[in-house]
Amino acid sequence: MIRFDSVSRTYAGRTVVDALCQVSFEVQPGETLCLVGASGSGKTTALRLVNRMVEPSAGRVFVDGVDVARQDPVALRRRTGYVVQRGGLFPHLSVAGNVGLLARLDGWDSARIASRVATLLELVQLEPATFRDRFPHQLSGGQRQRVGVARALMLDPPVLLMDEPFGALDPATRNELQAEFAQLTRVGRPRTTLLVTHDLAEARRLGDRIAVLAAGRLVQIGTPAELADGPTSIATTAFFGSDSMEVGGAG
């Protein structure tokens, strides 16, 4: 579904940070792959290569078997839901306005938008009648993140890209959202999900497989069990050694 074929990305002037070097991996349809790494390891760059928010310096990225470089970026992004840290909600739009924006731009009629918005708000555990007309500044951090997920799912995209979706939340709320993760992302159809996190415990809990990035290189990839059994590189060892919790900031 998503395939990285020897992808490199360099940034002029910045040698190591956020760069990516000869990375290859694959995400199977319906699978959740967690990209784990410290700040500056290149994990967010990898995510943004999928929806062409970043273009590769070398190598190719495939979505649905087609090189993304040959896909229209706007059409590609409509088929890849995008969830960012802190939700990225538009403060001038209501909850319903945020969630329904893409459908409105696509010319859906308002009844269809309203019913889809209500369905999605229920899915993310927000009572539609209560929350529909609220504005982002009237929501808690966890509620905003739920709205952000609902917004990404509006057009029912087959692929979901999540960049530190729970990174800015307090531990209790994070725990709650992690517990609902499968329900949030897989409803309606199996969704191929790429999730970036610096929290290994989160990756273990949410990922079908985990890919570990260090200084722009893919150092290991496997199921949580495989990774726990035998770290195969020094970088992974170092990462596991400091274990689970926070290694550096968001990245």
């Binding site: 960012v84 538009f90 990404a152």
Partner: protein, 520 residues
């Protein structure tokens, strides 16, 4: 109504009407009325009075916006012909100025009126006696303690203070540039000692001032005469004979007395001009002077204002029209331009820099430039063009900074969701920048209401008209008749746009907007 406005703006000046101009001081206005009255025997004549000084008048004359106006030889010699060395005596100055104007500008000098309105330095007769000064040289021992207030033009002109100071080796410690009429007031009440004056000024008598003798003969001769477009004389040769009937009719004393009648006694310009021409036998008494709007009398402010309310309302409407057109056109230019340049740092810098430079161009210089542009001329169009140029900076700056203040994370999120650049602009960036952009419109409007008074310098109407006339006649009632409505308009516009700003702010951002509005 907009169509009507547009048509009114496009209407060109009718070809067969002779247009007389005059500068924004009483003597020029009076001479302009005399020229107008005399020319009326040849048909329709329009008098554009209170034009903003020598540069504006000359630009209007050479671009054909006016046909004739009274000018002074010494002024033309140094300000227009830009000659630094003195020409010589009165006759030489007149002859050279006439020859150069003809050759370089196709402008003809007719026979002088007869008086020489020289620059002069003046102080109260009392103070002159006290210090025992009679000539400018006598001032030298008192240089350290004399306080001088000179008109802005006098402080700048080569034939003004800079030249005089050098010629007499006179260095005054306190020299202020100020509005002329106010300087007179300050000398009379003892706040200042020394002013620049015109030797035929009617206010010399009013304030009991003594003119110091120019014992080194620094000031060039300033003989007044009508200057006419060569083109007009070729098309209508009879104009020359008509205007030259005024030749040598006015000596310094008579001019001073006429100035006194309008400046101090508050009589109307047209009435005084008419009376003089009849007395000289140049006009028959039978032709009645038209109703004279410049006759002020000496009534109190309330009675004065009550009498003028209809005029004031008309001027206010002109002022509103100038402001609305300038801010409207400015917004149509600056807001799309701001959106366009906001993407590129260099383009933002370049456009803001350009708009900033426009702000530094002195208004009179800008007006003098604009009235020479074909299609603009001495009209509302030039005033609107100038005001629009001045409004660009706040409009552009707020558009750019409004867009720049939009959180990058939100733009990134929108782009990642699959919004096109156009959709991002329309649904995310512009709504979030609306408040700042509207604040720019509000600032521009209030600034423009203030600036719009300068439309009076090119006779484009508005509330500046009574202000400018009031300043040169030193009539507080006239100044207030323009300034008060302008202030009220500014306050009302500011309030209304503040409300509009809140109404246009998207609902999700509005709670904060209301709080801020209540706090301010």
């Amino acid at each position: 109504m907009l169509v009507e406005l547009a048509l009114a703006c496009l209407a060109a000046r009718p070809a067969d009407v002779i247009v007389v101009g005059s500068k924004n001081f009483p003597e020029s206005h009076l001479l302009g009325e005399m020229l107008t009255l005399l020319l009326e025997e040849h048909g329709e004549v329009e008098h554009r009075s209170a034009l903003g000084g020598t540069l504006v008048c000359w630009a209007a004359l050479t671009s054909g916006e006016i046909d004739v106006y009274p000018e002074y030889t010494g002024t033309a010699w140094s300000v227009i012909l830009k000659e630094s060395a003195p020409a010589g005596d009165a006759l030489t100055t007149y002859s050279l100025t006439r020859a150069y104007s003809h050759a370089r500008f196709d402008v003809e000098w007719l026979a002088p009126f007869g008086f020489d309105n020289s620059y002069a330095l003046a102080l109260t007769s009392e103070r002159a006696r006290e210090l025992g000064v009679r000539t400018i040289s006598d001032l030298a021992p008192f240089a350290a303690r004399l306080r001088a207030g000179f008109s802005a033009e006098f402080t700048d002109r080569p034939d003004g203070w800079p030249g005089l100071s050098a010629a007499y080796g006179l260095e005054l410690v306190t020299v202020r540039a100020m509005e002329h009429a106010l300087a007179y007031e300050a000398v009379a009440n003892g706040t200042l000692d020394l002013v620049d004056a015109y030797s035929t000024d009617g206010k010399l008598v009013r304030y009991g001032l003594t003119v110091l003798e120019d014992d080194r003969g620094f000031f060039p001769p300033y003989q007044a005469a009508p200057v006419v477009r060569g083109q007009l004389l070729r098309e209508r040769p009879e104009v020359r004979a008509t205007l030259e009937r005024l030749a040598s009719r006015l000596d310094d004393e008579r001019m001073g007395a006429l100035n006194f009648a309008v400046e101090v006694e508050g009589r109307g310009f047209r009435e005084v001009a008419h009376e003089f021409l009849v007395a000289e036998g140049l006009l028959t008494a039978a032709r009645p002077a038209r109703r004279d709007a410049t006759s002020r009398g000496n009534s109190g402010f309330v009675a004065f204002f009550a009498r003028r309310w209809r005029t004031t309302l008309g001027l206010l409407l002109e002022h509103v029209r100038l402001t609305v057109l300038a801010v409207g056109i400015g917004s149509l230019i600056a807001i799309p331009l701001g959106v366009l340049v906001a993407r590129k740092r260099w383009a933002t810098r370049l456009s803001l820099g350009a708009a900033g430079i426009v702000q530094t161009v002195p208004s009179l210089a800008l007006l003098a430039f604009l009235i020479a542009v074909p299609g603009l001329g001495l009209s509302v169009r030039s005033a609107v063009a100038a005001l629009t140029l001045y409004a660009l900076l706040p409009l552009l700056r707020n558009t750019v900074s409004g867009l720049a203040s939009v959180d990058d994370e939100l733009v990134d999120a929108g782009r990642g969701l699959g919004l096109t650049e156009g959709q991002l602009l329309r649904h995310v960036r512009l709504p979030l920048a609306t408040r700042t952009i509207m604040a720019g419109v509000r600032t521009a409007t209030v600034l423009t209401i203030g600036f719009a008074t300068l439309a009076a310098f090119i006779g484009a109407g508005g509330l500046g008209e009574p202000i400018v006339t009031g300043l040169y006649l030193n009539d507080v009632r006239l100044i207030l008749a323009g300034a008060l409505p302008a202030a009220v308009f500014a306050i009302v516009a500011d309030f209304a746009l503040g409300r509009l700003e809140v109404a246009l702010t998207p609902r999700g951002l509005r709670t904060q907007a209301y709080e801020q509005l209540d706090r301010s």
